[in-house]
């Protein structure tokens, strides 16, 4: 009887060969699993692509003379309005500051309106009605070497800044 008890104690101790390999095996298995799970679900892990196939944030929109004076031109695919006031140009984002819908220019009212939740903005992008918390973004503009207007949507500039040609 005493012999049996002694054997049991030895086998269950982690200092035995079997105990050591049991602990080592589980540690390696769980550690590897945990490491892979962590890399999969963590910040900048599997669900964060390293390469993006998205349209360029810098693009030409046309020659300055093509834009009507005091007019708002809608570039739907680029999600940007080009507003001209005499020699001053500005590029205003179409993306509503509330929840990201595309606002549209209403010519007869002279304002931008969002179809989703009814936010309204003046011609210069300043919000005055609806849930929008701040004015529409204004993007950086410059002239390219061949005289075209260029818009850079990666650079947000102050609302009062315009490109004068």
């Amino acid at each position: 009887m005493a012999e049996v008890e002694k054997t049991e104690v030895t086998a269950s101790t982690w200092t035995s060969r079997r105990g050591f390999f049991t602990y080592a095996g589980w540690t390696i298995f769980l550690g590897t699993t945990l490491a892979f799970m962590a890399k999969t679900f963590s910040f900048t892990g599997f669900f964060f692509p390293k390469v993006l196939f998205e349209p360029s944030k810098k693009f030409p929109v046309g020659y300055p003379a093509d834009f009507p004076d005091h007019g708002v031109v809608t570039l739907k695919a680029r999600r940007v309005f080009i507003v001209r006031e005499g020699n001053n140009f500005s590029a205003i984002s179409m993306v509503c500051q509330h929840l990201g819908c595309a606002v549209h220019w209403t010519e007869e009212k002279g304002i931008y309106e969002c179809p989703c939740h009814g936010s309204k903005y003046y011609k210069d992008g300043v919000n005055f009605a609806g849930p929008a918390p701040r004015p529409l973004f204004h993007f950086d503009m410059h002239l390219s070497d061949d005289g075209k207007l260029m818009v850079d949507t990666s650079t947000i500039i102050e609302r009062v800044t315009v490109l004068t040609i």
Binding site: T44, F47, F48, P49, L52, F53, E54, L99, G100, C101
Partner: protein, 257 residues
Amino acid sequence: MIPDLKKVIELITGNEIWKSVFRHSYEDTPRNRVLQIVGNVWMHIHPPTVRKESLNISYTFCLGGLTFFIFLFETLTGILLMFYYTPDVNRAYADMIDLSNNAAPFGRLLRNTHRWAGHAMVITVCFHMLRVFLTGAYKSPRQFNWVVGVVLLVLTLLLSFTGYLLPWDQLGYWAITVGTNMAGATPFAGYQGPFADLFGFTIDNDIRFALLGGTSIQAPALLRAYVWHCIALPSLAGGLIMLHFWRVRKDGFSGQL
């Protein structure tokens, strides 16, 4: 010459193949009745004895059962739809229109019932939750099953949300725009949310980016919605439904049931 029916039946049911599948005869004997219950595949879901009170439909209105039925229906129609739908920005909308024009047999029926049943599942799961709340069925010892149920509610809403983008139409596109922008305002996770500056979240490294696979809704977002909708979320929901039923069975029905 007419073959002897008893001999034909004996030939079919007497061989080893039949006996390996069906363990007892269909004859109505007390022993077979017990075997039908004890050896049943639904043994774990359904109790061997049912109390008279539990036949009262107005206590549960079978809302959980209805939700489960709709889940099975969605799985069935969803698998059939997958044969004719491509999660590609150039194909998705056209495939959906083709299905609606019966380009495949039962195409319109499949697509429309899949969509309506999706709406219905959100409704039945909410009413099921309301019933459980009103009858106090969430109380001890069923607290854990209430929690499982809440997770299942969230999974139902997520299934509904991811399925919304798949037709790649204006309705789904802007719904996902709004929904993922709300995710972008999550505290400690979104680039527009509180503490975004503290943790350095920008538009290309926050939770919204991980959901869309990009900074705007493009092809990766459609593919991600498809995989979540067709594989990940149904698998999670299926596992939790099993857990849910198992707990109902072990904790017993609430009330007089």
